[in-house]
Symmetry: C2
């Protein structure tokens, strides 16, 4: 018996092939995150080709593991390898995987432990206290990439014609957004607000590196329980991305949205960008991110509003929709520009 | 704007769809493991249908999380849900997923942490000491299911016409195999050998439950360094499943196989079943298990021989191939019946 006989024996039924694709999808997903983290995705993106031993040497990495990651990527057509498996070139799936790497990183690095231990978070008795552990650092890296890639371009379009002198970013995380805004608008002052001490310290570094300490202030404060402060008085623009779903359920969302007008008395524009719970999507139609976003929030017992629920809450909360951009990726996402009603 | 407009906006390109399938594959893989562990897969297998609130009540589980697991399964056609998402029925992908659940469990429960932290095991400096953590309990549960489902039927065929009075099972784990053999052969005596204390204690329980203490002995011993013992003298059949690759690299495999003849002086048959490194499989052709098995062993820096390498080592090690079964699932797997050359 030869090797080729074994390979042909292993020809799969359609169902078995589909099932193996599910299995390989799990491995390729982890490989996308790993490849991004070690610089392999960027190397592939810049030249379309990576020579394994050269790359491994440059990273003081084990060539066999770099190769294993590339083989995993090849199982989902992200790269192809030559017969001797010495180098990899980008394949038809590369562009999609590269542009959505933030979602994979969120899933496998940020929420990996949640999915590994999923069966231990199903029984009511197991769902008490802090039963979910996620990797906050990885989630913030993922969200920064997702915001930059998918929310920042329509966000810039939405505000390019709007005047504002002081912006406050709610849930500022690494300060990526206010640094971007301050760099685009020479006179702008900005306040980054985040409840997490870790976020504030990362943000401080980023602001320092950008040389923007004179125009950007960082405040550790709970976005869900803001009260007026002297530094909030001049704020005429508030932005809030990828955290609006934390305002919910409905009653507390109304309260939080109303309170923003008291906290920021001179607020003229509120720009809110987020991903909603899907509607009308079933089974294998689930687009990128939707299934992960919804599974994780269900396991954590966090409410996710639909787009219709968002629209229905704004009037009641004292806000008028001045402008809106719908976003296809991640699906069921929006950016609203709201003005006081 | 209505909900259906959003859904149609989200219609995906082929590449984006394929990429979302990769992402959803990771979630569905974890959901298969979870569904098996909480009894949901077995419930679906027995009646083809599960009513979510009834199932959740019977398990004291959160209905929303049971539903989330089923929705994740639906993303890979394992089940379908009704429009109100009150119940799930098996879909065309169910049979494949159900029969291969052991591989998914091995991957997401047994090796979940390895894949989550994959990027931290690439650099040479990070690959020192015990850098890989796997869940030994989950891996043993997975391997027992894999052995029962895919190796036991051809194994029984292979030995049904063979006489033996005392069998020793190397790497016996939970003692599943020797309990099965002892139950099928009333006069048989059996010895289970495993290096892991945890395995021996689980095996003791299983032997006790089967009421086979008088015929089954358990020995904590290192299969890679066996030496003669009084209880090994009567052994005329040795079995060894899913651990033969640990004998390698080649030189130590030759030694281990030779030593078996000294350790068991009356040995007449050695039955060896294992999965090999694939050959001639590339990219999206990777069948069930292959990519996971090979990625994990590469990360752990463990050698995996090919089928040809196995064949080439037997002669030199003093064994003759008396009979052989090739196994398609997991691909590149075999069971040899070997006799002293």
């Amino acid at each position: 018996m030869t090797t080729s006989q074994v390979a042909s024996d292993a020809t799969l039924s359609l169902e078995a092939r589909y099932c193996a694709d599910t299995f390989n999808g799990a491995i390729a997903s982890a490989a996308i995150s790993a490849a991004w983290e070690i610089g392999l995705l960027d190397a592939l993106a810049s030249t379309g080709r990576v020579e394994i031993s050269t790359f491994a040497k440059s990273r003081e990495a084990a060539p066999a593991v770099v190769r294993a990651i590339l083989v995993a990527l090849s199982s989902r057509r992200i790269v192809t390898l030559d017969a001797a498996r010495l180098e990899a070139t980008t394949d038809i799936g590369f562009e999609s995987a590269f542009s959505t790497k933030g979602f994979f990183y969120w899933l496998t690095r940020g929420c990996g432990e949640l999915f590994t231990t999923l069966p231990t978070m199903v029984r009511n008795d197991d769902r008490l206290g802090e039963y979910v552990r996620r990797d906050a650092r990885s989630i913030s890296v993922a969200c920064r990439n997702i915001a930059r890639t998918f929310f920042d371009p329509p966000f810039r379009e939405l505000i390019d014609h709007i005047d504002f002198g002081t912006v406050a970013d709610l849930g500022c995380g690494s300060a990526d957004r206010i640094v971007m805004l301050a760099e685009r608008r020479p006179g702008l002052r900005a306040i980054g607000i985040d409840v997490a001490e870790g976020a504030i310290s990362v943000a401080k570094e980023a602001v320092g590196e950008a040389g923007l300490e004179d125009r950007i202030t960082l405040v550790q404060d709970d976005v869900l329980n803001l009260t007026p402060r002297a530094e909030y008085e001049d704020v005429d623009m508030v932005t809030c991305f990828l955290m609006g779903h934390d305002f919910w359920p409905r009653e507390s969302c109304v309260k939080t949205l109303r309170r923003l007008r008291e906290t920021f008395p001179n607020l003229r524009n509120l720009v809110l960008g987020d991903t909603c719970r899907s509607t009308g999507v079933d089974g294998p139609e689930h687009p990128m991110f939707t299934l992960g976003f919804e599974t994780v929030h269900t396991v954590m017992d966090h409410y996710l509003p639909t787009l219709d629920e968002w629209e229905s809450v704004l009037d009641e909360s004292g806000w008028h929709i001045a402008d809106r951009q719908l976003i296809d990726l991640p699906a069921f996402s929006f950016i609203y520009r709201l003005t006081p009603a």
